[in-house]
Symmetry: C2
Subunit: 325 residues, 2 copies
Amino acid sequence: MKPTIKDIAARSGVSIATVSRVLSQKTGTYSEKTQAKILRIAKELGYRKNTAAVELVKKRSAVIAVILNATPTNFSTGVIDGIQKRASELGQGVIILYAGNRDAQMLHKAIVTALERTVSGILLTAIEPDDADLTLLKDSGIPFCFVSLYLNQPKILSVSSNNESITSQAVDYLVEQGHTAIALAGIDGYHTGTQRIAGYEAGLKAHGITTSCIKYGDYSYESGRKLLQEFLPLKVTAIITASDMIAAGILNAAQEVGIRVPEDLSLVSIDGTIICNITTPDLTSVTQDFYRIGSRSVDQVMGHDVETFVPVKIEKRGSVKQLER
Amino acid sequence: MKPTIKDIAARSGVSIATVSRVLSQKTGTYSEKTQAKILRIAKELGYRKNTAAVELVKKRSAVIAVILNATPTNFSTGVIDGIQKRASELGQGVIILYAGNRDAQMLHKAIVTALERTVSGILLTAIEPDDADLTLLKDSGIPFCFVSLYLNQPKILSVSSNNESITSQAVDYLVEQGHTAIALAGIDGYHTGTQRIAGYEAGLKAHGITTSCIKYGDYSYESGRKLLQEFLPLKVTAIITASDMIAAGILNAAQEVGIRVPEDLSLVSIDGTIICNITTPDLTSVTQDFYRIGSRSVDQVMGHDVETFVPVKIEKRGSVKQLER
DNA sequence: GTACTTTACGTAAACGTTTACAATACCCTA
DNA sequence: TAGGGTATTGTAAACGTTTACGTAAAGTAC
């Protein structure tokens, strides 16, 4: 049988209260001598705290729940690293709940699990809940924060890159390089996609460009490959892609049909993960600071007031050609 | 205040025992009428079960803990998908504990967290614990299983590919294609690496090849790039790489110095993730079935006796050249 | 010595469930 | 009607902690 504080108390001749105080380090309430004795006996017995009992009496667990989508893009390790790091600085554990791929049922289950565990905060990364789940979260009294998704609703916490800024910066850069026939590819039809479209169109407008070209997709490599087909009859000179994976798909499919990047087609991808280095040529990207997004989201959900938008930067690699005017 | 079964009991005029029975679906112990009433009231009150209380009295939580390394390789989504799917079939929740990158302290913390939560099983993916942690696990009485790592110790559960088979198959294939100067690159110095070396050397020996060439690394893209430098003075015609990322690194660094793949150098990578499609040329790989590794590991840890080794297969893509003899 | 303060510890209630056991209600049969 | 069974519900203990409150012991000051 697993030893409890009762066993330790019996063995050391003190009450369970004292054992508890020592074990949970309520310093100043016990003598060094008893501390030493209890710690020794606890070790001897191989004692482990029962988290369930602790959480039951404390009514809140020192744990942040991260609900994660199985996105075909791979930004998540950066985000998680950031979350993990900051959470452990704040004395919080982290549990990750997996919500499949836009699977409403799994998502709901994950949210309920988090609520039933009365975690101290919920982080939803790249997740768009339906209204029912959103009210569920709101009514729970547990703070939650969207990560890498900006809902643009009052009083809803969120940490992400500024999607409008991402695409408008990409447009600015491409225009600077002489491009005017610029497409946006692989975007989703939800909040993120909508915001990126807004930034894209604002960017074009600012430069007096009137023709836009938008293709939807799902952030995956395969999606990128398919999208290239749609671009074949079009005469764009540059494409901004919704993810590195989309860019990689377009790039490879293009090369297969003899379109050279960047000579015949320029590509600016959004994300800036290691994928950008793996392709040939390397992908110029609007790079997001996923680590910082993760760490700031922990601050948000723990009630520290920090920035909602984390800055992005353009990293020039090899997939954009400077056009002569 | 969050409602409890007590509140429901009070409102519906039954005892908490009955409420509990309805809510935990002890079918046959309550009437349909009370069930309906209790369910309705529970919904009205926005009741949520308190997991801590449940776990406390049940002494075991219906949760599998997955302890995860931040490997520079990206096989984990496949593994996790498999784990998640199978776990939910078996009515188990999944929590993921992140152990950083070969960070003994974080790993220890993760293991302790899992034990303190008295989970029903612990899955260690791509993790090699030190002796202290291993005894900790053994003494805990909680079943644990290594995933994607084979320790080759009696009575230790494990699900992985057969590392010896991976490299020997790779050697077989390369020899078949006419190669005899075959290197192994990016391997680690621990169990996985050792096993792959064994398979590699056995493979060479089986074909009467006496010269071997082994370079160590850490599975990352950068590590692959560095490794290429070491191969420059050597005259190997083919390299088996420890991961797709290593292969990508070697490939790109090679192309930068004018070595063409596969014309001048053939590459067989281990893993077979999407990375193999992203590089130019595509990487021929020994592909692991990560999804199945994940799902089988759940079976293992839940006490079902399943295979330890999950088969791999060679997928021929574009990075191996057939040599004339 | 008393009176007071501080330190260290003990007692017992509380957290929200589950479940063994006991009790009641109901139905059926003879 | 009694007797027996079954279906449904209630009572109360248990799970392993934390912590408010009380108390004993030890120290301090006069």
